[in-house]
């Protein structure tokens, strides 16, 4: 997933970013409400975040206000609040302000990852944890891919591309969308990097799994049971 991490504390922010990256997420990290506003709300629907991990006590304002502002603008990006405020009243206020989940610091990275996967499932309207397309089964929790009972070994980038495409089978994703989903703000990448990853995926999963829409991008082949 591509995530926006809003956390003012330097050390905790670094740790959360690394932890989320270890889970294969692409993380943009901002340390103030103002920066979060720019990256998320001002960008509007153009912002490609799958979820926001939001701290409430920010130096230049409350995370709750930021969240309310986004919801007023009908920005529906899932938000997971991660805060030190542990009172029941705070949790209720956070959820009612439009948050999808609420976690209290200290945060376990594995639990955070599981909650983000749950948010993703809800967003995509999936009941099961695993994603099955044709003879390929992807388990986001264990980050394992199985092709016709045979485990497939994918790199983190390959898995990220596969997951991005598998979220909406049959929907075409452009090169820019894939770059966005894969690299966040990490800057310049090789122009043919995506093509290289797609090539490797086809070699490991079968040539017909990913279809090329010339000039548009790529999509997973829609299957009857997909």
């Amino acid at each position: 997933m591509r995530l926006l991490l809003v956390e003012d504390d330097n050390m905790l922010g670094k740790a959360l970013r690394t932890g989320l990256q270890q889970d294969g997420h692409v993380v943009d990290w901002v340390q103030s409400a103002d920066q979060a506003d720019t990256a998320w709300i001002a960008a509007g629907r153009a912002a490609a975040y799958d979820a926001i991990v939001l701290d409430l006590g920010l130096p230049d304002g409350s995370g709750i206000d930021l969240l309310k502002r986004a919801r007023r603008r009908r920005i529906a990006t899932p938000v997971l609040i991660a805060t030190a405020r542990d009172r029941v009243a705070d949790r209720i206020a956070g959820l009612d302000a439009g948050a999808d989940d609420y976690m209290i610091k200290p945060i376990d990275l594995d639990e955070l990852a599981a909650r983000l996967r749950a948010i993703e499932r809800r967003v995509l309207g999936r009941a099961e944890s695993a994603i099955v397309i044709g003879e390929i089964a992807i388990d986001p929790a264990t980050r394992s891919v199985v092709r016709a009972t045979q485990p497939v070994d994918l790199t983190a980038r390959e898995l990220a591309i596969l997951l991005a495409l598998a979220k909406r089978p049959g929907v075409t994703l452009s090169r820019d969308q894939l770059i966005e989903a894969l690299y966040g703000w990490e800057g310049s990448i090789e122009s043919n990097a995506i093509d290289v990853h797609i090539h490797h995926l086809r070699r490991k999963l079968g040539a017909d799994v990913i279809e090329t829409q010339r000039g548009l991008g790529w999509r997973l082949a829609a299957t009857d049971d997909g």
């Binding site: 003012d8 504390d9 330097n10 050390m11 905790l12 670094k14 740790a15 959360l16 690394t18 932890g19 270890q22 340390q31 103030s32 006590g57 130096p59 030190a84 405020r85 610091k105 200290p106 945060i107 376990d108 990275l109 594995d110």
Partner: protein, 450 residues
């Protein structure tokens, strides 16, 4: 030794009751004396009257010519029991009324009022002598009768007084209870308050004499409230500020644990160590603040110390940090003897210099001088300075101007607390060469007069 508390109420009741009793006693005594005197005069008048009446009767009938005249005194409840003796010119009793003694009631030559014991009974006697000395009349009354009559009279007069005194006592008791009721209900109101309720006591409804007490209680409550709020805010902020570094520690540890790359793992472990150091600093600062909060300094008994050597030690301790950042750490402190707490003031100076070192670009200056308002200590840097908004909140606990995680936002709060303890003040001033930040401590009582 604990003395039993005396009661304002009981004392008032006893004193006022006693006063009423003494007043009653004194008035009774006066009444008795007056009644005795007045009754005596009345009785004497009755004696004279009776003597005159008897004399008139005797003179008319002709004493001695008709020896068999008799009269029966009428029996009447209020008739004073008077006795008569008629004496002839030789002084022998020629007639006496029933009950009168056989002995003469007065001396031979007596005239007017006299007192005499006759036949063992004391009498008050009025003697009337005929002008030709042919005869005399003694009219007497038993002294005991007179006293008994006076007693009866006075007792009847005093009886209502007893009732009045009793009523007065009840009235005093009631009024004292009534008047002291505000005191009791005031204390009960304070007693019945919830432990967390530190709102002011309503003073306006109290009597004027109790209002200073009410105000004093309110002053105390206010001070307690301020201390409580400070405690509560500090606890809440500390919980938040402690939880975040701990959460960071945990997250870093977990990152290290999950990492499959050596560089990532060692980075996480490095961050972990940095985090532990930071948490340690935070705990130390919180503890120092808590200690300072619990303290109060008697400024008159503070030791006299050399400000120069104190500042010198602070600067020496920080010179390495300044050098590491390529900064010039200057000290301009004259040889000054000051009254200051040698534990806390260096902590405040170190905090100020430490802040300045972290934000300065090239220079930090610690300066002290004597001014009319006291000893003025200033720490200046040439860093980016602070916005007005940041300055207004900088002395609040756990306020951090930026998300720079080096501090927990307690340094300036600690400086403020130390200057408060010294009865001084702290404010921002201009930094070095027109930029940066200056922090100025004024200690009005620190100057030592030569």
């Amino acid at each position: 030794m604990k003395r039993k508390a005396w009661s304002l109420r009981n004392r008032l009741i006893v004193l006022l009751g006693g006063l009423a009793f003494i007043a009653w006693g004194a008035s009774s005594l006066w009444l008795y004396r007056t009644a005795e005197k007045q009754a005596g005069e009345l009785f004497d008048a009755a004696l004279v009257e009776a003597a005159n009446a008897v004399f008139a009767a005797v003179a008319h009938e002709g004493l001695g010519k008709d020896d068999d005249f008799e009269f029966e005194p009428e029996e009447h409840a209020h008739v004073e029991r008077l006795v008569y003796q008629l004496l002839d010119r030789r002084g022998s009793i020629v007639y006496f009324s029933p009950g009168a003694p056989r002995e003469a009631l007065a001396a031979a030559e007596a005239r007017g009022f006299s007192e005499r014991v006759a036949d063992g009974t004391a009498y008050r006697v009025y003697t009337l002598r005929a002008s030709n000395k042919r005869a005399a009349i003694h009219v007497g009354q038993r002294l005991s009768d007179r006293a008994a009559l006076v007693r009866t009279m006075v007792l009847q007069l005093l009886l209502p007084g007893v009732v009045v005194v009793l009523l007065l006592a009840v009235g005093v008791w009631f009024i004292v209870r009534r008047v002291t009721l505000p005191v009791i209900s005031f204390s009960q109101a304070i007693d019945a308050r919830a432990p967390a309720d530190s709102g002011p006591v309503v003073v306006d409804s109290l009597p004027r004499e109790l209002q200073p007490v009410g105000r004093a209680v309110n002053g105390l409550l206010e001070r307690v409230e301020i201390a409580l709020v400070r405690e509560r805010t500090l606890t809440a902020d500390a919980a938040h500020e402690l939880r975040t570094p701990l959460a960071a520690l945990r997250a870093q540890a977990q990152v290290a644990l999950r990492s499959r790359e050596d560089t990532e793992r060692s980075e996480a472990l490095q961050a972990l160590i940095g985090g532990v150091d930071r948490a340690t600093r935070l705990v130390e600062t919180v503890l120092t603040l808590a200690r300072l909060d619990a303290r109060s300094i008697d400024r008159t008994t503070l030791p006299v110390v050399s400000l120069r050597s104190m500042a010198g030690e602070v600067v020496a301790g920080l010179s390495a940090a300044a050098r590491a950042r390529g900064l010039q750490l200057e000290m301009d402190v004259p040889e000054l003897a000051v009254r200051a707490d040698s534990d806390s003031l260096p902590v405040a100076l170190r905090n100020l210099c430490d802040n300045a070192i972290r934000h300065a670009t090239s220079r930090v200056q610690l300066e002290a001088r004597v001014a009319a308002r006291g000893i003025v200590i200033t720490v200046r840097d040439d860093g980016p300075g602070m916005t007005a908004e940041q300055q207004s909140r900088a002395f609040d606990r756990f306020y951090r101007g930026t998300s720079d995680s080096a501090g927990a936002g307690l340094g300036l709060a600690l400086v403020k607390r130390v200057t408060d303890l010294h009865g001084g003040s702290v404010r921002f001033s201009v930094g070095l060469s027109g930029r940066g930040l200056g922090v100025e401590i004024v200690l009005p009582d620190a100057a030592v007069n030569p």
